[in-house]
């Protein structure tokens, strides 16, 4: 038996098994949980990279659970697939790579960051389950299992947000808020799944896509899925849970939560492109996504400027940056039914939006880790109380500058490359949208100048005389993210050509998505 055939299942099975082993592993000593988690997520990362190479060279991979052969999607006599399956195309693996990288680095950062906390077996179990949930959302080939993985990720995230809340009110409150919004979204997703199943007796994405009629019921399902998936991605005005959750969760968890939000964004794109595609009024739905993007970009950044809590400031920026992804992909959706506009600027706009998902995960992850590093040494998130920390935290200062420059879209960092793709392509669709996007970038820079000045510049403050650089594992996690940011910024063409463009085409070419499962490809 070739073990590599089972890579899609192993990517999820290894962290899942590790999650349930945590209470046993934790008996050895306090540090083994973290080391074992890092090891399990390291293997998942390697397997994800191997799978990415396979998908990008061979094509979409299907893994059918319980079948005689994992690639047997249609046993003889069946018209549609009935088994649980993973369907991993270039878009899924693009998201999988982000999830694997960020979770692995989150675990490394946690090694020192969480060393003063108790209950680490639970913390690492939940971190692994959150990762499993995200992988599942990205790899699953059916709508019901998407709901199951969404729930796994949400429940793990709720507990992780509230992890520091045993003696503090705010983390528990933030966890509760996230639980309520997650429950609403899960119910609405389940309702939409019920609509599909009631109409077509199908749960498989590809099979549904091949028969979907865009009936009144399908419109209701779409009308339920768009707002809740956009809400989980942090779109304004349904974003209010995000600053609460992001600011109260431990820093490495916040970094992973950003990717969990992006997994919902991925699901939104999967539903609109792979499931409905041109059966829907692409212009109307495209504009809905564009408007959600505009609101998120502008209101996110303007709210960020007035924040004093460094993690809340960054959380509002996460909302604002998600707006760019909505904008880029929304423009692509709006012109999906118009082949000329799609080839002239629609695909580029989508490339910008999708590339921004990866860039955002890296620089926002880095920024949240720097905020965590500051909190680890100073014990505060309040920018008013900070100052002069560049004197004693030189590495963290450099990493913050890299992250801030990347998010503000300054060359030569990665944020500039994806934003440039968005500006230039969206301008051809509607110049005003592009101008607003540029204005938001300027405000982002202004906001991070404020954060940088408040935390790092100025004289060394007496209360921080003893502050020194954070432990090595935290520095390493931030250093790896910084290197990725610089590499993506210097060679964006490599990423766009080899990862982003195939991901965009996987979304656009619905016939390939359905054909992989139902035959004909």
């Amino acid at each position: 038996m070739n073990l590599l055939t089972h890579t899609p299942a192993l990517i999820i099975a290894i962290p899942l098994l590790a999650a349930f082993l945590m209470p046993v592993i934790g008996r050895i000593n306090k540090k083994t949980n973290g080391i074992f988690t890092t090891f399990a997520l390291g293997i998942s990362l390697i397997l994800t990279i191997l799978l990415a190479f396979k998908i990008l060279s061979v094509g979409t991979q299907v893994y059918v659970f319980g079948a005689k052969s994992p690639v047997l999607t249609l046993p003889s006599g069946l018209e549609f697939p009935i088994r649980i399956m993973f369907q991993i195309d270039a878009m899924s693996i693009f998201m999988g790579l982000i999830t694997a990288t960020v979770s692995f680095l989150g675990a490394i950062f946690s090694l020192s960051f969480m060393d003063k906390h108790n209950g680490l077996d639970k913390y690492y179990s939940l971190l692994l389950l959150l990762t499993v949930g995200m992988f599942g959302m990205e790899f699953t080939g059916d709508v019901f299992n998407f709901f199951v993985f969404l729930e796994i990720a949400s429940i793990a995230a709720v507990a992780l947000i509230a992890f520091r809340g045993t003696d503090l009110g705010e983390p528990a409150e933030a966890g509760f808020k996230y639980m309520v919004v997650s429950s609403i979204s899960a119910l609405m997703v389940l309702f939409a799944v019920g609509i599909f199943y009631g109409q077509y007796d199908l749960l498989n994405f590809a099979a549904l896509a091949s028969v979907i009629k865009y009936s009144q019921l399908d419109k209701i399902a779409l009308g339920l899925l768009i707002p809740v998936l956009a809400m989980k991605a942090g779109a304004v005005p349904m974003h209010m849970w995000a600053p609460d959750a992001y600011s109260e969760a431990p820093a490495p968890i916040t970094m992973i939560l950003v990717v969990a939000s992006q997994a919902s964004l991925y699901a939104l794109f999967r539903v609109t492109f792979s499931l409905y595609n041109i059966t829907l009024n692409t212009l109307a739905v495209g504009w809905i996504i564009i408007i959600l993007g505009l609101l998120s970009m502008f209101m996110g950044v303007t709210m960020a400027i007035i924040q004093k809590d460094i993690k809340r400031l960054m959380a509002y920026h996460a909302i604002s940056q998600t707006g760019y992804m909505f904008l880029g992909v929304g423009v692509g959706l709006a012109v999906l039914a118009n082949p000329i506009s799609l080839s002239q600027y629609g695909i580029t706009a989508m490339e910008g939006g999708i590339f921004h998902i990866m860039n955002h995960a890296m620089y926002k992850g880095l920024l949240f880790l720097t905020a965590g590093a500051l909190f680890y040494r100073t014990g505060t998130k309040d920018l008013d109380k900070m100052g002069g920390l560049a004197h004693s935290m030189k590495y963290t200062t450099i990493f913050f500058i890299i992250g801030a420059a990347a998010i503000a879209g300054l060359p030569p960092f990665n944020g500039f490359a994806s934003k440039l793709l968005i500006y230039e392509s969206v301008y051809r669709f509607n110049p005003l949208l592009s101008i607003i996007a540029m204005l938001v970038s300027i405000l982002t820079l202004a906001s991070f100048v404020k954060a940088f000045h408040s935390a790092f510049l100025g004289p060394k403050l007496p209360q921080f005389k003893e502050v020194r650089e954070v432990p090595r594992s935290m520095v390493w996690a931030m250093a790896v993210l910084s290197c990725i940011i610089i590499f993506f910024g210097l060679f964006p063409d490599l990423i766009v050509k080899n990862l982003v463009h195939p991901a965009v085409m996987a979304l656009i070419e619905q016939f390939k998505y359905t054909g992989t499962v139902l035959g004909g490809i």
């Binding site: 005005p237 303007t302 004289p459 403050l461 063409d493």
Partner: protein, 113 residues
């Protein structure tokens, strides 16, 4: 060419940008090296000129986050006041927004879509 990103309307090369910045940096450094050399460290030349007012202690002169962009937020009070009011922190409001947006999207998709 490695590092050349095509944007549909043009192209972008971060490598060329970095080379240009390095060349500019060398020129600026050269011009700076030709400047006035009579500056002496730890003399009155180090003191900031603040119209004859006494200099604050270094620790006391740090401007905290709340004071930065005060003018910006003050000028945009009309925009910020309702925006801040909207962020109540109340779970009922969070849920209401989801319902409101869901209804709007359902109407748009139902009518147009």
């Amino acid at each position: 060419m490695l590092g050349l990103l095509e944007t549909g309307s043009g192209f972008w090369s971060a490598i060329v940008w970095v080379i240009v910045v390095l060349v500019i940096w060398v020129i600026v450094y050269y011009i700076r090296s030709k400047g006035e050399k009579s500056y002496k460290k730890n003399t009155e030349q180090d003191q900031p000129f603040i119209s004859g007012n006494p200099e604050l202690s270094k620790e006391g002169s740090h401007i905290s986050a709340s004071h930065i962009y005060w003018g910006f937020t003050e000028a945009l009070k009309g925009y910020y006041n309702p925006l801040i009011k909207m962020h109540t922190g109340n779970m009922n409001d969070y849920s209401s927004w989801i319902v409101i947006i869901a209804v709007i999207i359902l109407i748009i998709v139902g009518v147009n879509g």
